[in-house]
């Protein structure tokens, strides 16, 4: 968008208007002077009811960045008018959004005039609320985000981090612990079963060996008194029992 100062505007008009009648020209000139003067007074940097806007189009869109020209500015003004309509329920128009101090950064100041009385500005609070309510729509009109379309002084409404109902770590923990506890039970059960099997195998053999031992002992004790006891027949009896 081309930057015009008051004097340049007047010069252009003068050059353009030679063909028109003098009175008509004067009226138009005076009207233009008044509006631009009025606008100049209402919109200035660090205005009490104004906001600075900063766009970072190339950062956001890279190769697909669009050029910021007066069409985009018109879109901005109409989007702001839309937001103000939503906030205050009054018939805001594009002309109620006044923009000034545009820079090559793509940053500018804007103020909002009331549709009921164009010399009064809408207060800062209402503008802020309007912007916050419609932030998403304003952003998406320009394909930008909260960081790349900044309204200086209006904090972002932050999204709470997404917390699922059951914490996922509890699920994984449950799976792991379930597997481990099941494994422990299986191992312990296995070893108990194995021990029982070993016990059952041992019991008939145990009785044999115990009897042999006790007989051996009685033989030792009795050998001094009774003589040699013939073990062979009784041993065979024991073995055939199996």
């Amino acid at each position: 968008m081309l930057r015009f100062s008051l004097s340049e505007l007047l010069q252009l008009l003068k050059n353009f208007c030679f063909s028109f009648s003098g009175k008509m020209l004067e009226k138009i000139l005076i009207l233009l002077c008044l509006t631009s003067a009025a606008a100049g007074q209402l919109c200035k940097p660090d205005a009490s009811d104004g906001y600075k806007v900063r766009l970072s189009i190339k950062t956001a869109l890279g190769d697909q960045a669009y050029l910021w020209d007066e069409k985009e500015m018109f879109l901005f003004r109409s989007t702001m008018a839309y937001a103000m309509r939503g906030q205050l329920n009054q018939q805001f128009d594009v002309s109620n959004i006044i923009v000034c101090e545009e820079t090559a950064r793509v940053s500018f100041w804007f103020v909002v005039t009331s549709p009921l009385n164009t010399s009064n500005l809408v207060d800062k609070k209402s503008v802020e609320e309007a912007v916050r309510k419609h932030r998403n729509r304003i952003n998406s009109a320009f394909l930008l985000t909260d960081e790349t379309l900044e309204f200086e002084g209006i904090p972002r409404t932050l999204e709470a981090p997404f917390t699922p109902d059951t914490p996922p770590w509890l699920i994984v923990f449950g799976v792991v612990m379930g597997a481990v506890v099941a494994g422990i039970i299986v191992f312990i059960g296995f070893s108990v079963v194995q021990k029982k099997r070993k016990k059952n195998k041992k019991t008939p053999e145990d009785e044999d060996s115990e009897e042999e031992e006790s007989r051996g002992k009685t033989m030792e004790n009795g050998a001094a008194n009774e003589g040699v006891y013939n073990m062979s027949f009784t041993d065979e009896e024991r073995f055939t029992r199996i």
Binding site: I57, V106, L158, A160, P161, P168, V172, M177, F187
Partner: protein, 613 residues
């Protein structure tokens, strides 16, 4: 040197060669390895631990890169390998766990075994807490976006919680959400239940893996020892394709020869070699005792040394590709932020300052409007500083690496892979640890003999879980650091030194050489003789003395996470309270002093018995 102390009755206490050949043919009660691969994998898993990923790369980079690696490899061969072979051979020959071996050599030396057991217990307690933290991060990696990528909102909803805003999302997640750390070791602040839950998980996993001794843990190592290598390779490939990886690797390997002249470099290298091999824990002796009698332990020692050296360097490379990537990302965003600040302040069009002409533009603006530029408070972006940030210990794994993983596409998958790798590294070390605790308990007959292996493992794990609730407090991280610094340093060096003296001068180096000849078929070469008699004990003694001297000269301080301190978000350095000296004595003094204390007690006991008779 033929100097050997008198050791009567040695032949009665140890199995003779005939006994050994006989037990070899019979099937014994003693557990055995299913195959050689199981034994090697268990030892590799034991030696390669979390320290290889988060301690060695930091030491390497801070002590002169390439020069340190050469020094490390030299010390690995001169100091580590002889000690390793010593432990392997003595375990294989005497076929007992750590207490049994030293008791066989001389009953007065049982203190070495008891010291090993105490050290293994103390280290196991805090090591498993690290594994519990790793499990917490692992469990929380199964979601997108990762929970440490966002700050929670404050009460108004207008901004983030200030503690998170001032530091970073990863710091906040680690120190506040995971640990809820208090501001000093004295403030216990109660138990933080997520850590209790993770500790329970960690101890039950260890319990089930070791439930039948090496017959179950030997199967588990097929996964826990091999998986880290697979994951490291995946990370290497991923890391090398990331932007800025090469700057990290160059930073790691840039040699600084001047560092070799500093004694601290040698000290750190020697200590790292000692800890890398998990010597003096007692686990290696135990593991070797399950080997067949004619197993070639010399070959095993050399294989293990080579694998350890290779893995240390490999993991250092992987770690530094990721660190280089993170530093480059942070540097780029720092430059972008500065560019944006300048553009906004001077209302220049967006493309006027890019990363390539930033320096020139900055100088131009600074010379034309110095006061405005000064008022903006632009911080200079320093790549070297970013590369050297927080690259050691828990800071590396839980803050630097998690930040880097957040920047990679598909971050939950990478996070899961990374923490699974750390988990496997930790748990395979813990197998050796628990072996070094359970087997001495059995040898010392402190548990009833009738109890099956399952019950012994279960009871040990349960009691250890109860004790490790100490680390579930809000001050838990400071206790972990305390244990790491004191239980895992001086006692190991002391016990290692005593081990060497015991084998070389009390058991007798000649007898030891004969045993080696019997087991592997030839006598060890002159290199081993010199190392066992002079080099290794000397190196360990020097490191121990230097360490004690430097520790006693420094004031004992530790780092705390204190949002109210001036250095926040950096950790503040705070002196320890006075009662910590008692704790340090318990951690470091008692295991080191068990060797002379036990010998003394036994001397007194025997003397009284003699006088009574």
């Amino acid at each position: 040197m033929r100097f050997v102390l008198a050791n009567p009755g040695l032949d009665n206490r140890i199995p003779s060669y005939k006994d050994l050949e006989r037990t070899e043919e019979e099937a014994g009660d003693r557990p055995k390895w299913d195959n050689k691969a199981q034994y090697i994998l268990t030892c590799v898993g034991f030696c390669i631990g979390i320290g290889n990923v988060w301690r060695f790369p930091y030491l390497c980079q801070s002590h002169g890169g390439g020069a340190f690696i050469i020094l490390y490899l030299i010390l690995l061969v001169l100091e580590g390998m002889p000690l390793l072979l010593l432990e392997f051979a003595i375990g294989q020959r005497l076929r007992k766990g750590s207490v049994g071996v030293w008791r066989s050599i001389n009953p007065y030396l049982t203190g070495i075994g008891i010291g090993s057991m105490l050290v293994s217990l103390l280290i196991g307690l805090y090591y498993n807490t690290l594994i519990a933290w790793i499990m917490w991060y692992l469990f929380n990696s199964f979601q997108n976006p990762l929970p440490w990528s966002q700050c929670p909102l404050n009460d108004n909803g207008t901004g983030f919680v200030p503690e998170c805003q001032r530091s970073s999302t990863m710091d906040y997640y680690f120190y506040r959400v995971t640990l809820n750390s208090s501001t000093s070791i004295a403030e216990s602040g109660g138990i933080h239940w997520p850590i209790v839950v993770c500790l329970l998980a960690a101890w039950t996993v260890i319990c089930i893996c070791y439930i039948r001794g090496i017959s179950t843990s030997g199967k588990a190592v097929y996964v826990t020892a091999i998986l880290p290598y697979i994951v490291l390779t995946i990370f290497l490939i991923r890391g090398l394709t990331l932007k800025g990886a090469l700057s990290g690797i160059i930073y790691l390997f840039t040699p600084d020869i001047n560092e070799l002249t500093k004694p601290t470099t040698w000290l750190d290298a020697g200590a790292q070699v000692f800890y890398a091999f998990s010597l003096a824990w007692g686990g290696l002796i135990s593991f070797s005792s399950y080997n067949p009698i004619h197993n070639n332990c010399m070959q095993d020692a050399m294989i293990l040394t080579a694998i350890t050296g290779f893995t240390s360097i490999f993991s250092a490379v992987v770690t530094y590709t990721v660190i280089g990537f993170r530093a480059t990302e942070n540097y780029d965003s720092c430059i972008s932020d500065n560019i944006l600040t300048l553009l906004n302040a001077f209302d220049l069009p967006e493309d006027s300052i890019t990363t390539s002409n930033y320096e020139a533009a900055f100088h131009h603006l600074n010379s034309s409007n110095p006061d405005i530029v000064f008022g903006l408070g632009i911080k200079p972006c320093d790549m070297q500083k970013l590369l050297s940030e927080g690259v050691e210990g828990t800071g590396l794994a839980f803050i630097v690496f998690t930040e880097a993983i957040m920047e990679m596409p598909g971050s939950p998958a990478w996070s899961v892979l990374f923490f699974v790798m750390l988990f496997c590294l930790g748990i395979s070390t813990l197998f050796g640890n628990i072996e070094g605790v359970v087997v001495p308990l059995k040898d010392l007959k402190m548990l009833p003999k009738k109890w099956p292996q399952e019950a012994i493992t279960g009871v040990t794990c349960f009691i250890a879980f109860i004790i490790s609730l100490l680390f579930a407090q809000h001050s838990g991280i400071y206790w972990v650091t305390l244990f790491d610094n004191f239980a895992g340093s001086v006692p190991l060096l002391t016990i290692g030194f005593f081990e060497m003296i015991a084998v070389v001068y009390i058991y007798g180096i000649d007898r030891f050489n004969e045993d080696m000849k019997f087991m592997i078929g030839y006598k060890p070469s002159i290199f081993w003789q010199v190392s066992w008699r002079f080099t290794s004990p000397l190196v360990v003694l020097v490191i121990l003395v230097f360490y004690l001297v430097t520790q006693s000269q420094e004031e004992l301080t530790y780092l705390v996470w204190d949002p109210k301190s001036d250095q926040f978000p950096s950790l503040a350095s705070v002196p320890y309270p006075s009662w910590i000296n008692l704790i340090i004595f318990i951690l470091a003094g008692i295991p080191s002093l068990t060797v002379p204390a036990y010998a003394l007690c036994r001397l007194v006991f025997v003397y009284f018995k003699k006088t009574n008779n």
